[in-house]
Symmetry: D2
Subunit: 423 residues, 4 copies
């Protein structure tokens, strides 16, 4: 089993080579290589990603990352296996009857440039990001390390276990993009217990929480209006004004009525339209999102946004293409799963270090996986592993206390022993 | 033939009893009665009005006017003949081969309250409107008098004529509503020469103009948005906001691009929406119009207005009902018709009193009749008979110089003698 | 002291003659007459109403109501004392040191036409509204009856009391208009304990609640845009389009961002603009309201609404006049006052009938009075007296169980005995 | 005096090194070098450019162009003389009394990438643009060549002349930017006759026109909205939404009423706002223009645009910075100047090749210079020199017939002989 030093070595290697969502080619290759060394046969590419459900994938960035992976020596064989789709999963089948348990770790970085300050530990200790504009500033490098370390424990302990354990390495959690296509691969369809997790989030190292509070359901949308250019001075009646369509949509979306009660939010964060001062604008682009404490309110806001986008296009004789750029659903952890987590956590960190949280207003696409599991009667929750952080998540000075890696792996060993241990 | 005194008597009788568009029951009965006394058999009701093309008809006002007509002794027989549709026409068939000529006179009043000032001649001489809120302040009482007087001339002279002469008494010119349904009755389908006219318009008594300049094509639209009310504080998401739909439409209509070159105009003149401060508004109403120097530009603006109205409704999940409340087309008088009018006018008022005008920006639904005639090869124009006016058209102190009545009738006698005189 | 029969007689007399806010001349005269018969010297007119703070007063309706009062025999003397301002108050000074307690009863009706169905008890028993379009369909006829009956108890018991008791009869609660100017008369400035109340609200007869839950702070606004008319076809550049200003404001108000957390609401419920189809609209009118669970959020929304209204006017070169048409503030009852009410209520209806409520989303201008009292260290709450109702408040079939009148009066006798009883 | 070959050599050298507006460092240095060789002492930098009136200058592009000029060997001395401001002028003072005549030639290129097709003569003959994204596709390379050739004629002929001749080499005509600051240098304040010119414009080589028709007055505006970012999900009320401000402004500008009669146009061609999907947008940028057949209508539209931009900013609590990015005024050529041009042109190309044009809808900042001259009683017009073109102006395949260079120079020799020849 991985020692803390092994874990730190892996985490720092990954930290040095951060890759954003859908671009985790080196990252996936690293994980797969290690899993194979353990004797596992991880699933790759379309076996874990249903490409029909991919959202928010920037093809140019994917190609650039692929080139970079090749340049850094990732083998063509493994890139071929991925076939363009990052992420992987190990399924440990004990052959003995027992529950199917799945645990999800995310693997992508954030698009932030890491600090080069000497005060920043990754700089001082030589594992700062080698990829400008990309940084593991949310801690997913830690998450995937926990996953790999957990696999090494599974390798050592599988004879003592029953049922099936699935360890999922999910791409593209940032922007809540990767959970849906991984879920739609079917990999969760027989799962009885599901867990996702995050480190940090303001908790001190050593704390474990089995119930983080509220995650908002959300839908991210990109809307592209297609109009028709014309000379605005000479024959303005010959064009279709996509700038006015986009502007009207942006305003109309902000007038969507907000149900009383559940938390909700909506925002058109970006509007780009037009070509030149005297050209009637043939194009318009909006980036927006809706959020809701419940799936119901999120769905209401999303449907209203679609209605307004389509009507704004029609108003100016334009077409509009609306693409989902990411999504997450509401979070309803199961009391039985919470109780299980609490029991295992108490064994690892003691009862005084196990507590519920009261997070608010964020979103996690892990909720999509949990909901799928719950839909067929499975149970689950989302776990937070405390870890002192050097700066807020997504910031250039973010760093976390690596001791969390061992605590989390120990915790999962205890949890799986409870759920899948041979009696 | 009617003397000027006869004409003045008729004009003042009508002036005393003004009726607005689609409500001219007493007016039509008066005309029909006089025509029958002359031995004519005028066409009434659906014979001259194709009800499928009626626009801008206020059913309540029609019923009220009908009651008023009954109360003032108009016979049920003639009201039955009208069957709810005002206006009439005389067709004088000489039985001798010759051109078919149609002349149109409009008969409706304006919704203005007439001045009660002693300075106002209709007050002093006792023919002021007896119907508050209604007044012949455009001079159509004069127009219909010319038409009746012309019929009396036709009665006296029909043996000297060839071909066919149609004298049309059109309802609802104000709001450009009546010409379309009268045209769609088919009454103009065999017409070779068509003339309409107006008195006043800034010309001195004695002047005749065969070409008034520009009439704009126009479409008047009423749009009713139907949404869904709800308590705006408690459950705003349950409503469909017709106020925001109507407001968005009003703004969007004002952004319609305007072709360079031809004169055009558009206006949303009225917006009424909502029920109460805390009720999400379930209804919205817009009154608008578009205008264009050419039918092409008017059609472009109208189609854009429809597009925006429908999209604004869709944007807020509402329905919208768009009704045409009136229409006129572009005006392209025929040089040959102009020459004919000029020749006849010179005989009546002398060459120094015959001149073209340069009117602009108004609309006349007579243009619809003329266009129909032109479409099958007929010719025509629109004639202005000068008449000193006491105040601008549509104003409470409007009055005109009644001498125009005789000048116009004489003119038509000369014109018809030229066109339909036995050689 | 008033028996239940006395109370029913008064309530039904008032029910027969409902008067809307600021128009309660007969109502005030009736109350004042009865109080004077008891030997009290009630305060009237500007002694209880600071006219500088009056909102939402329709001068025409006030004059009409005054005429009606005169026609029905209300004496000029008392109308003179009112000097146009309805409402009154009794101040009972015992002359013995003790707390100052104020209790508020509202007296205005709702603008609803009462049902004429034989199923409706006021019809069957002959006390249906004699004033079409006006009805006591919220129960304020009951409230003022409680107040008068309480005064009769005070008259009988004042020797047993200490301190000062103020009984306020507030006009214009509907639309949350009357509390502010009554508060600004200064009448609450020395008050130690303050109570307001409402009957019904879904509670069964016999229930008393000392804490109804949430009342929202609210501001009602009327905005009048003044532009400049012009002929929209001929010279549209000469006008100032108040219709587009109003439409823009309506949309912009609905885009105001909504703070996460506290309940909030906003609505533009009415928009009326324009004069005629072809006139560039010289006027626009909006009726709107904002609401918030806290005064802070209500203030934020109100200030944003002002900003948007003023900017929309400026955008189209118009003026805008914004008038406050009503207001209420947040509700924060004091635990000590709640405990007092509970104790007195238990004495009257037993502990099983005393319970907190969880109302939401409504507003009460009584909150303005309570806040004023709290600002100088006083305490208070708002009491709900259960009463079976025949239909929802503000509906044409509304009626309530008159037994509540006696329960409420008894309750206040107990409450005042606790607060102001001689020990 | 320059031969046609000399002119072609210069034109092609310039064509190879196109520089956009405000960046014409190499171009200016080339002109100045040649003028000095002729013995002239041209004015440079702030002597011909009043920097307070510069509009639409992109500082980054200016710096890049300066670097490029240095890299290609332009001397520091001349760059120092320019002091960052391109363009120059020669003033030929004969010392003999006589009229002051000014002729303006523009020198900037268009931001278009030149075709690399072998069908394109500049490719075939080796003078295609060496600067990707920049091309003399409007013919200003020809214009400045005419100016230099004219100076060489002046050098040869100045003893035969009286009065003063000013030859202006204006930067930044594209985007109508350079005329205003050159005019504000005062260089035109004593000018009696002013002429500007353009080649091509659809006329065959050999044609000369003294009156091109209509140039529209225009103002180009850049508006930058400054709001305040906040987390749109967590605390949207803390931001100031510059995206909604910009969108509202764009729509409102398109609702500006359009005076009937003169040609007018307006367009918001570009809108860029926002930073990220979930950030309330702190910035917004609009690129717009208004145009008008008369200065009056252009001014009306511009003032309305300012009003709407400022109100839209205020509506969302934002600031807005509005910058003029270019401007031109209406064109009213003087009949006397037209007659002079016609007379000289007839001498050069014969009467059959001299004709008025009927251009429409374009703008030329030369109109600002002409207006300044007219304001103190001077006269002028704008001349078009026909030249067969290979493709439309501003297109990648544009090229012109170089014979026009000699025709134009000859024409100016004749014109100046008429105006400034010693009698």
């Amino acid at each position: 089993m991985y020692s803390l030093d092994d874990m730190i070595e892996l985490r720092r290697k990954i930290h040095r080579n951060p890759e954003p969502g859908w671009c985790e080619f080196m990252t996936t290759a690293e994980i797969v290589g290690r899993l194979r060394q353990m004797g596992f046969n991880p699933l790759l590419g379309e076996k874990v990603i249903n490409k029909d459900f991919i959202a928010g994938r920037n093809e140019k960035a994917v190609q650039a990352s692929l080139e970079r992976a090749r340049a850094q020596g990732v083998s063509e064989t493994i890139l071929d296996e991925m076939n363009g789709y990052t992420g992987c999963a190990v399924i440990v089948e004990t052959g003995r009857p027992g529950p199917v348990v799945a645990i999800r770790f995310d693997i992508d970085c954030v698009e932030v440039t890491e600090s080069s300050s000497e005060d920043h530990k990754p700089v001082r200790e030589g594992f700062v990001s080698q990829h400008p504009g990309c940084m593991h500033s949310c801690g997913h490098d830690g998450h995937l390390t926990m996953g790999v370390a957990l696999c090494s424990w599974l390798q050592d302990n599988k004879d003592k276990l029953i049922g099936t354990i699935k360890v999922l390495f999910q791409p593209a959690e940032e922007g809540v993009r990767g959970a849906r296509p991984m879920t739609e691969s079917g990999i969760l369809d027989d799962v009885d217990f599901f867990f996702g997790n995050h480190l940090g989030l303001g908790l001190e190292t050593g704390i474990i929480s089995s119930n983080p509070g509220l995650f908002l359901a959300t839908t991210k949308l990109d809307a592209t209006f297609i109009g028709k250019a014309c000379h605005a001075g000479a024959n303005p009646e010959q064009g279709k004004n996509a700038l006015l369509a986009a502007a009207t949509a942006a305003i109309a979306i902000h007038t969507i009525p907000r149900p009383v009660g559940p938390v909700s939010a909506l925002n058109v964060g970006k509007l780009i339209a037009g070509e030149g001062r005297n050209v009637l604008a043939p194009n318009g682009f909006l980036q927006l999102e809706v959020r809701g404490e419940t799936e119901k309110v999120n769905t209401f806001l999303r449907e209203q946004a679609y209605e307004r986008l389509e009507a704004a296009a029609a108003m100016y004789g334009c077409q509009v293409k609306i693409e989902k750029a990411g999504e997450a659903t509401e979070f309803k952890p199961d009391p039985e799963a919470i109780a299980l987590v609490d029991a295992a956590a108490i064994e690892v960190v003691g009862p005084e270090n196990v507590m519920p949280l009261d997070l608010k207003l964020g979103s996690e696409d892990c909720t999509i996986m949990l909901k799928r599991v719950q839909q067929h009667g499975g149970l689950g929750t989302f776990i937070v592993f405390g870890s002192k952080i050097a700066a807020g998540h997504h910031q250039a000075l973010f760093d976390f206390d690596e001791n969390v890696l061992k605590i989390a792996t120990d915790f999962y060993a205890h949890l799986l022993t409870r759920l899948n241990g041979r009696k």
